[in-house]
């Protein structure tokens, strides 16, 4: 029988110490920290969450049948309730998310964090897009850039990414 390790083994020691040299900005450093409490807008960006559309806001459902994917995104007003939103997805189980939407889109948890003063505020909109995309270059060139611009325009200080 193989003896359990006494200490966790770091397979690639030092890997993360140089990550910002290799991929600038990919890891938070102390100078990057944004205090959450003092009125800084928190934004839940939802890459891979993808399947929500606001009934109140209307709009076309995501294109879940297209063989190459859907490269659009939806704004979800951050004051929405789960009952205002609709999951639009066929490629993964949604039963759990229908019982509690927060498992894929923690909108109520974020609203609670604001009301408790942990996070200053939410941006006016949260963002959702579909993850079934066959063209990563187009995804990066269009969708990622467009969402990044929309997040910046909403005055976000921090972004929370929630893959579904």
């Amino acid at each position: 029988m193989t003896a359990p390790f006494d200490q966790p083994r770091q397979l690639r020691p030092g890997l993360w110490e140089t990550v910002n040299e290799r991929y600038p900005g990919s890891m938070l450093s102390k100078s990057d920290f944004v205090p959450l409490a003092p009125a800084k807008a928190g934004v839940g960006v939802s890459p891979d969450l993808r399947q929500l559309r606001g009934r109140a806001a209307g709009g076309t459902p995501f294109d879940v049948v297209h063989p190459v994917g859907d490269y659009s995104f939806r704004r979800v007003p951050s004051h929405c309730k789960p009952s205002d939103l609709e999951i639009h997805q066929i490629k993964y189980p949604t039963r759990g998310a229908h019982r509690d939407l927060n498992v894929i889109f923690p909108i109520e948890r974020l609203q609670e964090l604001v009301s408790e003063g942990v996070v200053g505020a939410l941006t006016a909109n949260l963002f959702s897009f579909i993850g079934y995309n066959m063209d990563p270059e187009r995804l990066e060139r269009t969708l990622s850039e467009e969402i990044a611009d929309a997040v910046v325009a909403d005055g976000a200080d921090i972004a929370l990414l929630c893959p579904a």
């Binding site: 879940v64 049948v65 297209h66 063989p67 066929i90 490629k91 993964y92 949604t94 063209d135 990563p136």
Partner: protein, 96 residues
């Protein structure tokens, strides 16, 4: 598989790669399921016409005449999922 992979298959005329992708797409990653899903959609469409109900053939012909092939291709994918859903045997995890 990627878009580039599919475009190269088109350029090479490699129909097997293309239809395999379609089956995988329609079968949620399982090619055998994809084949069955394609059959299910056709069977469902056939069943609806066996009694020769009245249909809006004007609409069909006008759509085919006036809409660009890309829109019709998109409609084709929609129709596939529509008929599969209608068949009552929905293998997908989420809802259309």
């Amino acid at each position: 598989m990627s878009l580039q992979y599919l475009k190269e298959a088109v350029a090479c005329g490699d129909s097997e790669k293309l239809i395999r992708y379609v089956r995988l797409h329609l079968g949620d990653g399982n090619e055998a399921h994809g084949r069955k899903e394609i059959d299910k959609a056709w069977i469902e469409a056939l069943k609806l016409l066996l009694d020769m109900p009245e249909t809006d053939r004007e609409f069909v012909l006008e759509t085919l005449r006036n809409k660009e092939p890309e829109t019709l291709a998109h409609l084709f994918f929609h129709l596939h999922f529509y008929f599969v859903q209608r068949s009552g045997e929905w293998i997908h995890d989420g809802t259309l």
